[in-house]
């Protein structure tokens, strides 16, 4: 846009426009701040959930329980069948005694005292590690189906799939993501509406000035620029507030995680990348809204 306006002039005018309707401008900035904070929160939750799922994916396992009567050949046959399948990383065979030992460790000592050794459940089992790649690709369903078919093998008593829980988590994260996107969208839309209104008000209050500027030879770009910058400034203010909110929230949560859960993990609600996104995103939202308003109401 060719306009010939000096940056100091444009900024000063934009500032004067903002001061013309301080309340509405404040509401706009706050709504943008809220929307950006929410977007930021969801972004980091999604990021952390992604992390979590990756880690869970590492320990994705499958237990194939065999009949007591299964012979060594039969066990080997099932084992080979498993190992031949894509997406299976490792297969470990546990005898009935090894399985019983493992189960014993899960029970509390008091309970064990009055217990007959033989009454602790134990069963020959094949522990199968599934490739984490498979889980993150969402190809788990196919595997579940395939392993379900193993139940039909004579020596197999049951197949327990650890990934059931993981799939639930996936589903929940998916729902959270949808809610987050919708909510952020709604908030962003209202933020844009407020900026739109602020700029419209500014345009109306400057009708006479706009006309005179045009008549003494201002280019359309020159006339429009302060209004566009007015919108961008509201977005910038919103981004600054959002960054502050996220920063405070981070400090609050960090204390909680450290003191209550005794976890010493490195994470941040406000990583440098996020700050960059806010600084670009805030003014971009404001600019888009003011551009809509200027396009609609500022005819030069």
């Amino acid at each position: 846009m060719k306009h010939g306006a000096r940056p100091d002039y444009v900024l000063r005018q934009a500032w004067l426009l903002l001061r013309g309707s301080p309340w509405l401008a404040g509401v706009s900035a706050l709504t943008i701040a809220l929307a950006l904070t929410l977007v930021g929160l969801f972004a980091s939750v999604m990021f952390n959930a992604g992390h979590l799922m990756h880690e869970l994916g590492q320990s994705l396992t499958l237990s194939v329980y065999l009949h007591d009567t299964a012979s060594a050949e039969e066990v080997t046959a099932v084992r080979q069948k498993l190992e031949a399948h894509a997406g299976i990383k490792k297969v470990r065979a546990l005898t009935r005694e090894q399985d019983r030992d493992r189960n014993k460790r899960l029970l509390s000592p008091e309970l064990l005292q009055g217990l007959d050794e033989a009454s602790i459940p134990g069963q020959p089992v094949l522990e199968v590690d599934i490739d984490a790649e498979l889980a993150s690709r969402g190809d788990v369903d196919a595997l579940v189906k395939w392993t379900g078919a193993l139940r039909g093998v004579q020596s197999v008593e049951d197949v327990e799939f650890g990934a059931e829980k993981l799939r639930l988590l996936f589903a929940m994260v998916e729902i959270a993501r949808t809610i987050g996107i919708v909510l952020s969208g709604v908030l962003l839309a209202s933020a844009m509406f407020f900026v739109f209104s602020t700029v419209r008000l500014a345009v109306f209050s400057r009708r006479d000035e706009i006309e005179i500027q045009t008549l003494v030879g201002a280019t359309p770009g020159f006339v429009r620029l302060p209004f566009l910058v007015e919108g961008a400034l509201q977005g910038l203010a919103g981004a600054a507030i959002a960054a502050t909110l996220l920063g405070l929230l981070h400090l609050e949560l960090r204390g909680l995680v450290r003191d209550v859960y005794m976890l010493n993990v490195s994470w941040s609600l406000l990583p440098p990348g996020m700050i960059a996104w806010l600084v670009i995103g805030g003014p971009a939202v404001g600019l888009a809204a003011s551009a809509l308003s200027v396009g609609r109401y500022l005819k030069v």
Partner: protein, 262 residues
């Protein structure tokens, strides 16, 4: 400087405001445009400012055919034409100084240069003591002076004034006209639209008479026309002489870029 060939203007509601108007105003000329209300005086000025486009005919300003001027070039044409409106059109929220400064701000001048030029002109118009006042606190004559200052501050080649004395009492009207004639003597082409016949008679300048959109009469300037005797003493004249970059008789170049990048 200004040429009209068979210019016709019909408003969208069907009113023929100008009918087949052909005229020519030379550089540095001072011309009255008269005629009864509704004759088309304001319309003619609006066409020159390209606030309206002619329906038919050609309009040349400084050799440029503004009939075919691209929208993007209009601002640059207007920087060469100062316009004084009957209703002043000052911005009530802005001070006298700021109202005048607008015409320079839009050209991207810095605050220092703006201050130099505005101060000089307000000085010349004996308005400097009112620089920080708001238009609402000024008398009609003072407001008209501010409006003229805004039109002149970027040293346009052409000055258009629509009923500049319409709202003023006769004495003030005379003052303002004297001012405009002084501007004309500095080399600016001046067109003054007015339906005040008495005023026109008094000065004996070239007069174009419009009636129902037609050019009825073109009275040349009378010999011995009342040209101000105050030249040289008038502070405005001095201010303008100092600020004008070209000599009064030098040809005036219009500063309109051929191709304007939108």
């Amino acid at each position: 400087m200004i040429q009209l060939y068979h210019v016709h203007k019909r408003y969208t509601n069907g009113t023929d405001a100008l009918v087949d108007v052909t005229l020519r105003v030379r550089e540095g000329e001072f011309v009255f445009l008269t005629g009864p209300s509704g004759a088309g005086k304001s319309t003619l000025l609006r066409l020159l400012m390209v606030m309206e486009r002619a329906t038919d005919g050609q309009i040349l300003i400084g050799g440029r055919n503004i009939h075919v001027l691209r929208d993007a070039s209009i601002p640059f044409l207007r920087r060469n034409i100062g316009m004084v409106f009957q209703d002043f059109r000052l911005i009530p929220r802005r001070t006298v100084y700021e109202n005048v400064a607008i015409a320079l701000e839009i050209m991207g001048l810095g605050p220092k240069e703006i201050e130099r030029r505005v101060t000089q002109l307000l000085d010349g118009l004996r308005m400097m003591h009112r620089a920080q006042a708001f238009p609402g606190d000024l008398s009609a004559g003072e407001q008209q002076r501010v409006a003229i200052a805004r039109a002149l501050v970027n040293e346009p080649a052409i000055l258009l004034a629509d009923e500049p004395t319409g709202n003023l009492d006769p004495e003030l009207g005379h003052d303002i006209l004297q001012l405009l004639i002084d501007v004309g003597r500095r080399g600016t082409t001046v067109l003054v639209a007015t339906h005040d016949h008495g005023l026109v008679e008094r000065y004996g300048m070239r007069t174009l008479v419009l009636g129902r959109g037609q050019l009825l009469e073109d009275r040349p300037r009378q010999l011995g026309a009342r040209i101000t005797a105050e030249t040289g003493l008038n502070p405005l004249a001095v201010a303008l002489t100092e600020s004008r970059q070209h000599a009064p008789d030098a040809p005036v170049e219009l500063d309109i870029p051929d191709e304007v990048v939108p």
